[in-house]
């Protein structure tokens, strides 16, 4: 109490804020505050660290079994991917799954949040091997896919090409960042230009710089691609289901 009086003399304008510390905190008030905090965590998706339970969707062993750690040859290594490498084994790049796991979790979490907010998600892939898989995944989660030739001004000239007021996607997921001639897909740069966040599976020969949520991993193996499609589909559907649940509660 003596200390409080000293402070109030020195800084009279801060007295109001100090008054709350004059008595010991009321346990009832504390309990109410805690209840509000818990309630907020349950209702507000942004205050919960993992609102959609994305952590339980996969384990590091699942990634290993799906051969997500296998990269391309050392000569094709992009310098910006060096930090995601575990090492090189017999000239083949091996990606560090300890780094892939948090990246994939944050990517899935973001995708679920965008789906929760009724965002439009576009899935892009230019490898003919997985074209059908990606289109099917998009259809199953009620979102969109683009696995064919990319028109130059699809994003940057959308209002001329498709009409004024065209709404662009709120999230672009790249299952393969490169196009058919092993150059970065135009949509990576265009999404950054149009301020659209991107999630991208970046292999050892890809440039991860412009991608908002890169996921270092193998993008050429059947098992790995099936895993990614399954995970993103589940995350997006969870976001949508939570949305319906919340809307149902308020009604």
């Amino acid at each position: 109490m003596a200390q409080l009086k000293l402070f109030s003399r020195l800084r009279p304008q801060r007295l109001c804020s100090l008054c709350s510390f004059s008595s010991s905190p009321d346990p009832v008030v504390l309990q109410q505050a805690a209840a509000v905090a818990v309630d907020k965590k349950q209702t507000d998706p942004l205050s919960h660290p993992d609102f959609f339970g994305v952590k339980e969707l996969f384990t590091l062993k699942d990634l290993f079994d799906a051969r997500v750690h296998l990269g391309h040859k050392d000569g094709l290594l992009d310098p910006y991917m060096k930090k995601y490498l575990f090492g090189i084994r017999q000239r083949q790049c091996i990606l560090d799954l300890d780094k892939t796991v948090p990246h994939l979790r944050s990517a899935l979490n973001f995708a679920a949040h965008v789906a929760y907010r009724d965002g439009i998600i576009l899935m892009i892939n230019r490898t003919p091997q997985f074209c059908h898989l990606v289109e099917k995944t998009a259809e199953e989660c009620g979102e969109y896919a683009h696995t064919r030739d990319w028109q130059g001004g699809c994003f940057t000239n959308a209002w001329i090409q498709f009409g004024p007021g065209t709404r662009l996607p709120d999230l672009v997921i790249f299952f393969h960042t490169l196009n058919t001639v092993f150059q970065e897909h135009t949509a990576v740069r265009d999404s950054a230009k149009m301020n659209i966040p991107t999630i991208g599976i970046v292999d050892s020969n890809c440039n991860p710089n412009l991608i908002t949520y890169p996921v270092p991993g193998n993008d050429d193996t059947q098992s790995a691609m099936q895993l990614y499609c399954r995970l993103f589909k589940t995350a997006i559907l969870r976001g949508k289901d939570k949305r319906k649940e919340m809307e149902g509660k308020t009604d």
Partner: protein, 199 residues
Amino acid sequence: MIIALLYKNLLNKNTGKKTTAGSDMSSLSRVIKYGTIYTRIRDLMRAGVMKKEDGPLWYDTIEAFPPIEPPTLEREIPSEPITEILYPEDVIRAKFYNHYGTFYTCDLENQSSVAKSPCHRFITRYQELEKTWTGSETELFEATAVALNQEGLQLRKKGEKRGEKVRNVDKMDAEPSISKDAMANLLKTTLTDSSTKET
């Protein structure tokens, strides 16, 4: 996929936000060389050009859950050399393949086939014997091969041919497997049987 139809359909999606002709708030800054998408939108809001309500859908989410590294175009390349992944048993592996070569098939889809591969079995046996071995490395190598032979795994040296087959052309003039006497008896019995049948 007909992109135009896709996007035209999206116009009807109810977001509660109005987009007036000519105003596409997000594309006010198309600069990719500096900053990230988040910093550009944030700075537009700070400058008062864009209001919080006109902001993009993902803005609050990216603020709450930022990416692990900010997605800038220009970044530093780490100068540390990349580690070469090597194991102590690679020495044994190299010797094995130099000596015996590859002569078996391995199903790469099935991880359990690794345990059955001759090289893996060789390495595990070698390491087991190494613990109590007193002689030289070459002797240990041969001892492992002998031990595996006893288990049923035949290891052939690289370049060594397999056992000679009867189909070999050089053997065409060789002695028949059946003895001459046995052959004579066989012919006698068949010929006499046929002759009695005719008469």
